[in-house]
């Protein structure tokens, strides 16, 4: 959907200082461009639960982190996400790849379609679904709205491949 350069430019424009990530086949393609961006750091973690805690530490220290993971990683994130977003109420924003949303050619019957949005609802995270490249402005607006409100938020990026 988006190129790495588009995403890196968007994140930079939003003032993101660190992108804490575990890649998938869509969002992983953005990594090099993010890593090349000046004034922005890519932090690769080993599992998604770590990403929230690293982002929390960055936020505590005055940085502006963003978590970039796949929806499967959202499922994995549970307890760490709960701790960071609800115990400590930190306004961490996340960009989440929505596996198989655009097509299920690779994984017919992918249960990511069943659980991703209900899980975000269950964790009380306000999200926007990004279905096409034309919605890049929606990401920007939602990020800024969450930042202004001091609350967490997310965007789900529609993906086609696993």
């Amino acid at each position: 959907m988006f190129s790495g350069e588009q995403v890196a430019a968007l994140f930079a424009d939003l003032g993101v200082t660190h992108v804490v990530t575990v890649p998938d086949s869509t969002i992983g393609k953005w990594g090099d461009a993010i890593a090349r961006a000046s004034d922005m750091h890519l932090v690769r973690v080993c599992r998604e639960g770590e990403a929230w805690a690293v982002a929390a530490g960055l936020h505590f220290g005055g940085a502006r982190p963003l978590v970039l993971i796949q929806c499967t990683g959202l499922f994995e994130s549970g307890d760490s996400l709960r701790n960071v977003l609800h115990d400590w109420k930190l306004p961490i924003f996340s960009v989440i790849g929505y596996r198989s949303f655009l097509n299920q050619e690779t994984l017919p019957g992918d249960t990511c379609l069943v659980f991703s949005e209900p899980v975000l609802d269950a964790w009380k995270i306000e999200y926007k679904l990004i279905r096409s490249e034309s919605q890049i402005g929606t990401i920007r607006e939602h990020y800024r709205a969450c930042l202004a409100a001091g609350k967490p938020g997310a965007v789900l990026i529609a993906e086609g491949n696993a």
């Binding site: 639960g49 770590e50 960055l58």
Partner: protein, 205 residues
Amino acid sequence: MSGHAAMDPGGALAVLREHRASGDVVITSMGSAREWMAMGPLDPLDFVFVPSSMGQAPSLALGIALAQPRRRVFACNGDGSMLMNLGALVTISAQSPRNLVLIVFDNGVYEVTGAQPTPGSALGRPDRRGVDFAEIARACGWPSVFYFDELDEWRDAASEAIASPGPVFIALDVAPVPGAVGPKSPGPTVERARKFSEALRQTNR
């Protein structure tokens, strides 16, 4: 290693208290949080990670260390917590923050739930050989790795160990505290988070 615990955990933690300098962050979790709070008033740069997501103290410390690279950050972790997030050792060594010191208090058990053996402890394994956290850290590429099972050795070497090129990994073989309970949160979490972040930002170096 796990299974022949030597040090009193409070004594081991007191060594850190002696060496903690002004401006250093100390993150404690689980048993170390309980012991740290029992030692006296908290510093604004103490972060009692209670409630926590178990295993995430080193990851939280990494974030702080990256955000404020001129500030030293200590993270106190248990062995059960370390096992729950072993990948953090790889994540941290990949970032290689020179200002991070991770201390693992290895008592071989899940102390706050009734001292059940961890899968890494000698008691939890058929060969009765405990997992060697220091070797794991070395294998993950940590530049400075230490192991102590005697309080006097730890006390004598602490200054040098802590000042080694970071990130620094220190494994301490400690005794479980019989009948120990989990740490109690020292106050409302949201308020503590806000104050801790303010203290970090106000004294950013």
